[in-house]
C-alpha cells in the first residue's frame, strides 16, 4: 500500500490514459456507453479521497520510473492538486453525462479521457518539460474537442485556438530551453537556488516566456482575444470543459511556476497585477455588449481569472489561497452555466444568440432557479459560494496591499450583474414566438444540478474550504 501511495501521482495520470484503450476495447460497435469513462473518473476520485489524509500530512513526491527528479521526472501530489483535481473530476463527470448526442460520442469520450489525463498531469508535474508535454496533450485534446461539433463555426474557432495555442506552446518551449541552458535543471524543486545564482537576464527572460505562454492559455489581457472566438464555435459541453478543466489546470501550473521562482514573482508582481486589473476591466466591459451566450461567458472568464491572478500576484499566503479558492469556485459555476446552455438546445434552436435562447418547457422553473443561483454566484451575491470566494478575494487582496485591485474585483460584480440580468430577462421572456421544431425532448434533469447544489451547500463551509486552500498554498510555498 505504501508503495502504491508513493506512485499515486503517476497512477492519477495513467489511469485516465488507460481509459483510452479501455474505451476502445469495450466498444463493440457504434456509440458505446459512458460507463468505462465514468468508472475511470470514479477510480481517480476514490484514489484522491483516500489519499487526502496523506497529502495533508506531507506532499507525496514521486520520482517517475525511480529516477530522482533531477535525472528523471518528479511529480508532486499535494493539497493543491487534490483540491483542483476534485473540481476537475466533477466537471469531467458532468461533461460525460451531459453529452447525449449519439454521433461521435465515443470520439468525444476518448478525447475527454485524454484531456483528463493531460490536466491531471499538468497539476501534478514538477518537471518543466514534462509540463510542456502535458500542456500539449491538454491543448490538442481541447482543439479537437472544439472542432468536434464539425460545423462552420466550430472549425473557425478550432483553427484560431490552434494558432494561439501553438504560439503559447512555442513560448513555453523557448522558455524551458533557456532555463535549462542557464540553470541546468528542469526540475521545479531545485530551480529556485540555481535561478537566483545564474547570472544575466536570460533566466528571467526565459521564465517570463513561460509565464507569457501560460497567460495566453489562461486568456489574460493582452493575450485574451482568442478566448471568446474559440469558445463561440464550441458546443456548450466543450466550453464547460475548457473553462472548467483546462483553465483550472493551467492556473495550477502557473501557481507552481510562480512559487518555484519566488524572486522573479516578486519582480514581476507589478506587471502581473496590471495584467490582472486590465483583464478584469476588459473582461467585464467586453461582456456587456456580447450578442452570444458563450462569448459573454468567455469574457466573464477573462475577468474572473483576473481576480485569481490579481490575488496570486500579491504574494501573500492568504491572498494566494483566496485566489485559488476563487478560481476553483469559478470553474464549478462557469462550467455549470455552460452545461445549463445545453438546455437551450432542447427548444430546437441551434443558435446561441441572446435573442434566440430560451429555456425549454420541461423543468422550466428548475432551469430558471438554477440560472438565477448560478448568476448570483458569478456576480457574488450571498448566500452562494461565489459570494464567499469573492469576499475572500476582495478582502485578502486589500490586506495584501492591492487596494485598487480589491476595488476592481468588488466593482466587477456590479458590472457583471448588468449582463447576467440581460441574459436572465431573455431566458424567462414569456412572449416568445412558437418554435417551429421543438428539439429532442429530454426527460433528464439538467446536468448543472450537481454543480449548483454544490455551490449552495459548500457556502456554509467556506471557512473550512478557505482554510484548506491556505494549507495547500503553505504546502506549495514550503516545498520550494
Amino acid at each position: 500500500m505504501n508503495s502504491l501511495l508513493t506512485e499515486l501521482p503517476v497512477l492519477l495520470i495513467v489511469i485516465p490514459l488507460a481509459g483510452v484503450p479501455l474505451l476502445y476495447f469495450t466498444t463493440r460497435s457504434g456509440r458505446g456507453t459512458a460507463l468505462p469513462a465514468l468508472a475511470v473518473i470514479l477510480v481517480v476520485v476514490t484514489l484522491l479521497s483516500f489519499s487526502i489524509r496523506d497529502a495533508m500530512h506531507a506532499p507525496v513526491v514521486t520520482a517517475a520510473g525511480g529516477w530522482q527528479p533531477d535525472l528523471g521526472i518528479g511529480l508532486q501530489f499535494d493539497l493543491l492538486a487534490v483540491a483542483a483535481m476534485l473540481v476537475t473530476s466533477l466537471i469531467v463527470a458532468q461533461a460525460i453525462l451531459s453529452h447525449d448526442e449519439t454521433s461521435g460520442a465515443q470520439h468525444f469520450r476518448t478525447l475527454l479521457m485524454l484531456l483528463y489525463a493531460g490536466s491531471n498531469g499538468l497539476m501534478l508535474t514538477q518537471d518543466l518539460f514534462n509540463a510542456y508535454v502535458f500542456i500539449e496533450i491538454t491543448s490538442i485534446a481541447s482543439y479537437a474537442l472544439v472542432a468536434s461539433r464539425q460545423d462552420k463555426g466550430g472549425f473557425e474557432s478550432a483553427f484560431k485556438y490552434v494558432v494561439m495555442g501553438s504560439f503559447a506552446g512555442l513560448l513555453v518551449l523557448w522558455g524551458i530551453a533557456g532555463l535549462y541552458l542557464t540553470t541546468g535543471t528542469l526540475d521545479m524543486q531545485s530551480l529556485a537556488p540555481r535561478f537566483d545564482a545564474a547570472q544575466g537576464a536570460v533566466p528571467a527572460l526565459s521564465a517570463a516566456a513561460i509565464i507569457a505562454g501560460l497567460l495566453i492559455k489562461l486568456g489574460q489581457v493582452p493575450f485574451h482575444a482568442w478566448k471568446a472566438d474559440s469558445l463561440s464555435g464550441a458546443s456548450y459541453t466543450v466550453s464547460a470543459l475548457l473553462s472548467g478543466v483546462t483553465t483550472t489546470a493551467f492556473f495550477v501550473l502557473l501557481l507552481r511556476v510562480l512559487s518555484a521562482l519566488p524572486s522573479l514573482t516578486l519582480s514581476l508582481a507589478p506587471v502581473l497585477t496590471t495584467i490582472a486589473s486590465l483583464s478584469i476591466i476588459t473582461g467585464h466591459l467586453m461582456a456587456l455588449r456580447q450578442p452570444r451566450y458563450s462569448r459573454l461567458l468567455a469574457y466573464s472568464s477573462v475577468a474572473h481569472i483576473g481576480y485569481g491572478l490579481l490575488a496570486v500576484s500579491s504574494g501573500a499566503v492568504t491572498a494566494i489561497a483566496a485566489g485559488l479558492f476563487h478560481i476553483l469556485v469559478h470553474a464549478i459555476m462557469k462550467s455549470s452555466l455552460f452545461f445549463l446552455g445545453r438546455s437551450f438546445l432542447h427548444t430546437g434552436n441551434r443558435s446561441d444568440r441572446l435573442e434566440a435562447i430560451v429555456f425549454p418547457e420541461q423543468y422550466r422553473k428548475l432551469h430558471v432557479t438554477l440560472y438565477v443561483l448560478l448568476a448570483m454566484s458569478m456576480i457574488g451575491i450571498p448566500p452562494v459560494l461565489g459570494f464567499t470566494s469573492k469576499w475572500y478575494a476582495v478582502l485578502e487582496t486589500a490586506r495584501a496591499g492591492y487596494h485598487t485591485g480589491a476595488v476592481l474585483i468588488a466593482l466587477g460584480g456590479a458590472v457583471a450583474l448588468v449582463y447576467y440580468l440581460r441574459v436572465g430577462i431573455q431566458l424567462v421572456h414569456p412572449g416568445l414566438p412558437e418554435l417551429s421544431s421543438p428539439g429532442p425532448a429530454s426527460r433528464r434533469l439538467p446536468v448543472p444540478l450537481a454543480g449548483t447544489a454544490l455551490i449552495l451547500l459548500l457556502a456554509v463551509f467556506s471557512d473550512r474550504l478557505l482554510a484548506f486552500c491556505v494549507q495547500a498554498v503553505v504546502q506549495l510555498l514550503e516545498a520550494v
Binding site: L215, Y392, L395, V407
Partner: protein
C-alpha cells in the same frame, strides 16, 4: 480572520444592541408589517411577492443589529435580493430590475471595497468601518446610493414611479432608511455631511416642485427628507444624531401614509397626474384627513411628528449653513404639499370619472383603517415623542411656544403657493437639468466607448497574435529593466 461563517455566528451570539439601532429596526419592522397588512387588504399578490417582501423587510429590520462587516454586507445584499424578488413579480419586471438592481449592486460593490480597505488597515471585521480615507469615501458613496443622495437618486425615482402602488409602500419602508442608518453607523460625524444633507434636502424639494405625477413627486420628497436625516445622523453632535434618527422613524410613518393615500387615490380618480386629480375631498373624508395629516407631518407643522424632529434638528446642528438650507427646504416642502392638497383634495371643480388603472380594486374599509391608524400615529409621535424614542431630550415636545415658532415657515410656504407658485415653477422648469438628459449623455458616451473597444477585436487571429507578441515583449522589457 475574515472567516464568514465564524463572523456570522459571532454576530448571532453578540448582536449590536444600541438604542439608535433598536429604534431604526423597530421602526422598519413596525411599519413594514403595517405595509404588508395594507397590501394584503388592498390587492392580491403572488406567493413569490410575499416571500420577497418579507425577506426585504425582515432583512431591513435585522441590519441595524449586525456587529461586523460580514453580516452587515450579507444582510445589506439580502435586502436587495428581497427587493429584486418583489420587483420580479411586478408587471414591468424587466424595466424595473434594469433600473433598480445595477445601482444597488454598485452600492454593494462600493461598500465591499470600502470594507476591504478598512479590513486591510485594521485587520478586523468589526464595525464601524471608517478607518481609511479612501475606504470612508467608498462607503460614503455606497450609503449615498442606498439613501438616494441627489445625483445618485435615479434608481429610486425610476423604481417607485413604475411599481404598483402597494409595492411602493413596501419598498419605501426599507431602502432609503438603510442608507441613512449606514451613514449613522459607518461614517464619522462631520460638518460636511450636515451641509450635504442640507443641500440634498433643498435641491430635491426643487425637483419635487417640478413634478406633475404623484409618485415621482413623493419620491423626490423622500430624497428631500433623507437629506434632513443625513444632516442629522451625519452630524458630529449627539443630539443631532438622535434628532436625525427620530426623523427617520417619523418619516417611515408619514411617508408610508402618503404612499398609501396615493395608492388609494389613483384608482379612484383614474389619473396619476397631480393637476388632473381633484375632488378627493368630496369623495372620501377619511382619505382627506389622512392626506392632511401626512402633509402636515412632512411639512413640520406642530403638533405632528415631523415638527419634533425638524425643530430638534434646527437646534442641534452644528453648521449654520445646514440650518438655513433646511429652513429653505422646509418652506419648499410646505409649498409643495400645499400644491398636493389643493389640487388633489380641496380645489373646487367637476369630479373626474373613476376607473380602473390596473389594480382592480376600490379602497376597502381595512385599508382606510390603516391610513387612519397611521395618521393617529403621526399625531401621537408628535405629542409624546419620548415614549417612542427614549433617547430624545426632555425639551422635545409640543409647547405653546413651539406652535408659534413651528407654524411660521410652513405658513410662509403655503402662502408662497398661492402668491408666487407660477413664477417659481417657471424658473425651476428652465434652470434645473433633467435627470434623463444627464443619464442619456452618460449612456451614449459609455456605449461609444464599449463599441470602440469591441471594434478592436476584429476576429483576425493575426492581430491577436500580434497582441500576444507585443505583450510578451512588454513582459521581457520589464524583466530586463526591473532591478
Amino acid at each position: 480572520m475574515s472567516g464568514i461563517t465564524a463572523a456570522v455566528l459571532q454576530t448571532v451570539n453578540t448582536p449590536h444592541i444600541e438604542s439608535g439601532a433598536i429604534f431604526v429596526s423597530q421602526a422598519i419592522l413596525l411599519f413594514g408589517l403595517l405595509a404588508l397588512v395594507f397590501v394584503a387588504l388592498h390587492t392580491r399578490r403572488s406567493a413569490l411577492w410575499w416571500v420577497g417582501a418579507i425577506v426585504h423587510i425582515g432583512a431591513g429590520a435585522l441590519l441595524p443589529y449586525t456587529a461586523d462587516m460580514v453580516s452587515f454586507f450579507m444582510i445589506w445584499e439580502l435586502i436587495t435580493v428581497g427587493a429584486a424578488i418583489v420587483l420580479v413579480c411586478e408587471p414591468d419586471a424587466h424595466g424595473l430590475l434594469r433600473r433598480y438592481l445595477p445601482w444597488q449592486l454598485l452600492a454593494a460593490a462600493l461598500l465591499l471595497s470600502g470594507f476591504a480597505l478598512h479590513f486591510a488597515e485594521s485587520g478586523s471585521v468589526a464595525l464601524p468601518a471608517a478607518g481609511v480615507t479612501a475606504g470612508r469615501i467608498l462607503i460614503g458613496i455606497a450609503v449615498a446610493i442606498k439613501a438616494a443622495l441627489m445625483p445618485l437618486h435615479l434608481w429610486m425615482v425610476g423604481t417607485y414611479a413604475r411599481v404598483r402602488p402597494g409595492t411602493a409602500v413596501v419598498l419605501s419602508a426599507v431602502a432609503t432608511k438603510i442608507g441613512v442608518f449606514g451613514v449613522y453607523r459607518l461614517l464619522p460625524g462631520s460638518i460636511s455631511l450636515e451641509i450635504l444633507g442640507g443641500i440634498m434636502a433643498t435641491v430635491a424639494v426643487l425637483y419635487a416642485l417640478r413634478q406633475n405625477r404623484l409618485r415621482p413627486f413623493l419620491a423626490f420628497h423622500i430624497i428631500s427628507q433623507v437629506g434632513y436625516m443625513i444632516a442629522g445622523v451625519g452630524s458630529a453632535a449627539a443630539a443631532a444624531q438622535i434628532a436625525g434618527l427620530y426623523h427617520l422613524g417619523n418619516h417611515i410613518v408619514y411617508k408610508g401614509l402618503l404612499f398609501m393615500v396615493v395608492a388609494l387615490m389613483v384608482p379612484m380618480t383614474g389619473t396619476p397626474n397631480i393637476y388632473s386629480t381633484r375632488g378627493m375631498g368630496r369623495r372620501s373624508f377619511v382619505l382627506t384627513v389622512a392626506a392632511i395629516a401626512g402633509a402636515l407631518s412632512i411639512s413640520g407643522v406642530p403638533p405632528f411628528n415631523g415638527y419634533i424632529s425638524k425643530s430638534l434638528l434646527q437646534y442641534s446642528l452644528v453648521s449654520p449653513v445646514a440650518i438655513h438650507l433646511l429652513t429653505i427646504a422646509g418652506i419648499g416642502t410646505a409649498l409643495s404639499f400645499t400644491k398636493f392638497l389643493w389640487h388633489g383634495f380641496l380645489r373646487p371643480g367637476p369630479l373626474p370619472q373613476a376607473h380602473d388603472v390596473g389594480e382592480g380594486l376600490i379602497a376597502r374599509t381595512g385599508t382606510r383603517t390603516i391610513t387612519v391608524a397611521l395618521s393617529l400615529l403621526c399625531l401621537l409621535m408628535g405629542l409624546y415623542p419620548r415614549s417612542f424614542f427614549a433617547e430624545l431630550p426632555d425639551s422635545a415636545g409640543i409647547t405653546q411656544q413651539s406652535f408659534e415658532s413651528g407654524l411660521v415657515w410652513p405658513v410662509v410656504g403655503a402662502a408662497l403657493f398661492f402668491i408666487l407658485y407660477g413664477p417659481i415653477l417657471r424658473v425651476l422648469l428652465v434652470t434645473l437639468p433633467g435627470s434623463t438628459t444627464v443619464m442619456n449623455l452618460l449612456r451614449s458616451a459609455g456605449t461609444r466607448g464599449l463599441q470602440l473597444m469591441q471594434r478592436q477585436h476584429t476576429g483576425d487571429i493575426r492581430r491577436y497574435l500580434g497582441w500576444a507578441v507585443g505583450g510578451t515583449m512588454l513582459l521581457w522589457t520589464w524583466v530586463l529593466l526591473a532591478p
